[in-house]
């Protein structure tokens, strides 16, 4: 049979998380159909159709599906589920919001945040903030899975576009309504897709310093900017910058951790980065223990020097 991949998108574009989840979905061995649930979401459907390995795109286009609220989106997934053996979504805030709701309605125990497909019914997933890896076999006939994007490569665009089929939507009373959103706007790369991430912690001391010290460095390196929980809690950086067990999971080529200690909850979000640099005044900080390169000293003198050394 077939795998259904619930896409994460904003109607106009498809996030890289979907392309990564597609790579995991393909490893299940069946054809993959991508579901775009949205409103005026044709552009996102067209982007999905271009990805290599997509057999078909299902476009459910209805005002009730704007903002991907969980109630209508999960109801749609459930309505389509009978034709699929597996239902997959990226473990983004949207996928994590919608898919467990659908899983319960299908009486399936979801497998969250997989990092490896061992077999179509067996998966590896991190537990305890990534301090352990669990291998689980699902005994449910249908599989419902969310995928950790950092663990899979993004599928590339193919040569031919897959067909786009429209699916009917029956809007139902959901009890929830979208009120507003305030999204971070930035010309920098997206945190979970960036090749380089520059991350700051409590040591930055204020949002002014956070911006003044980290942003020029990030721009020079074409890097995304991340933060520790302490930096976000203190208001130095917005919540969507948080890297960690309960924030975003990243695995860039280069992760530069500046003035953050590397608590296990933070390491959970970045320790699979290819190269880790720690800039910290404490040589015993946990981040220094796992870093490939550590520069011990005061970040407020080191970062200007680093800027200069980068030319």
């Amino acid at each position: 049979m077939t795998t259904l991949l619930l896409a994460d998108h904003d109607n106009a574009t498809l996030g890289s998380a979907t392309a990564r989840a597609l790579s995991a979905a393909r490893e299940l061995g069946a054809d993959v159909h991508v579901l775009i649930a949205g409103s005026n979401a044709k552009p996102a459907a067209e982007a999905a159709a271009k990805l290599e390995g997509v057999a078909k795109v299902l476009l459910a286009d209805d005002p009730s599906l704007d903002h991907q609220r969980a109630e209508p989106a999960a109801a749609l997934v459930v309505a389509l589920a009978k034709d699929y053996d597996a239902i997959v979504a990226p473990a983004t805030s949207s996928g994590k919001n919608i898919l467990p709701r659908a899983a319960a309605l299908l009486d399936v125990m979801q497998i969250s945040d997989i990092i490896k497909v061992v077999a179509p019914n067996t998966f590896e997933r991190p537990i305890y903030a990534g301090n352990a890896i669990e291998t689980v076999e699902s005994t449910d006939t249908k599989k419902v899975i969310t995928v950790r994007g950092a663990a899979f490569p993004a599928a590339k665009e193919g040569t031919a576009a897959a067909p786009i089929e429209t699916v009917a939507v029956t809007p139902a009373e959901s009890g929830s309504a979208f009120v507003s959103e305030s999204l971070s706007k930035s010309d920098r790369p997206e945190l979970t897709a960036a090749r380089i991430v520059v991350s700051g912690g409590r040591a930055l001391g204020s949002s002014e310093k956070f911006n003044e010290v980290l942003l020029p460095l990030a721009d020079k390196l074409h890097a995304a900017v991340g933060a520790s929980r302490a930096a976000v809690d203190a208001g130095y950086a917005p919540n969507d910058f948080q890297v960690g067990q309960t924030g975003k999971i990243v695995a860039p080529e280069l992760y530069i951790a500046i003035g953050l200690s590397g608590a296990i909850q933070h390491l959970a979000g970045m320790k699979d980065s290819k190269v880790i640099v720690a800039i910290n005044k404490d040589e015993d900080a946990p981040i220094v223990q796992i870093a490939d390169y550590s520069l011990i000293g005061d970040l407020f003198t080191i970062i200007p020097e680093l800027d200069k050394a980068l030319g």
Binding site: D10, R101, S112, Y128, A132, E137, S138, F178, L183, K271
Partner: protein
């Protein structure tokens, strides 16, 4: 309005988990266990609603091994009114927890259920959403702000791109994120009082619910270790090394 808060006992957030040598799980013997931090935030939020006169009673529920009853007492010490404990030594998955909660909710009829967004042991991030699905109630996950006004809740959620605000018609499910509140510390007199309070203890069978796990845990292993790193003396040396490593 009654507020129901499901809570879980987990390894303390400050303890470094160790994988058992036989690969069957994480060693929890002689390890400090606590209320899951996100559940603690949920209890705190319920208490604040009660202090604001929006909630009349706070009922906490936990499902787990006998020892986990301790966290009902922790919730009492913070200000929960009544506790229900469903005792089982089995591994209970989020789907089973959601089903037991659904049965409890049918009897308790709360106007709002607040849960933690994830437990820091299995990191599943499912129970609230599953419960909302089973009940057919609206949900707002990853909440950083909650306001209740009559039969409506306005919830600001932490999403990947920033913040989103939803309006829900009660009854509804809300799951907490880190920045919803800072839980209070219990006072000593309240800790003492909590020790004497009754807990209603049940078994999953009392609800006629099959909690048999759907996932078989084949193995639990250590994550791959990183190779040891080096200290560099200057920013120039760092840039040179990063160029040599091919990442700059």
């Amino acid at each position: 309005m009654k507020v129901l808060v499901p809570i879980k006992q987990v390894i303390d957030a400050n303890v470094r988990p160790r994988v058992k040598a036989d690969g069957t799980g994480v060693d929890l013997a002689n390890v400090k266990l606590s209320i899951n931090p996100f559940c603690e935030i949920a209890v705190e939020e319920a208490i604040r609603l009660k202090e604001k006169g929006k909630a009349s009673e706070i009922v906490v529920v936990s499902i787990g091994p006998a020892k986990a009853q301790e966290i009902i007492r922790s919730a009492y010490a913070l200000g929960a009114d009544r506790g229900l404990f469903v005792e089982t030594e089995e591994r209970v998955e989020p789907l089973a927890v959601a089903k037991v909660l659904q049965a409890i909710i049918a009897a308790e009829q709360p106007g709002l259920v607040i849960l933690g967004k994830q437990a820091i042991d299995d990191d599943s991030n499912q129970t609230g959403q599953m419960l909302a699905g089973l009940l057919g109630w609206p949900q707002a996950t990853f909440a950083s702000k909650l306001e209740v006004d009559g039969d409506r809740a306005t919830v600001t959620r932490e999403v990947d791109g920033g913040l989103e605000t939803l309006a829900l018609t009660l009854p509804a499910i809300v799951t907490t994120d880190l920045r919803l509140n800072n839980p209070r510390y219990p006072t000593l007199p309240n800790i003492m009082k909590a020790k004497k309070k009754a807990i209603d203890v049940k078994k999953p069978e009392d609800f006629g619910i099959d909690i048999t796990p759907r996932l078989k845990v084949l193995k639990v292993s250590e994550p791959p270790a990183r190779k040891p790193g080096i200290k560099v003396a200057s920013a120039e040396e760092l840039v040179k090394d990063l160029k040599a490593a091919g990442v700059l």
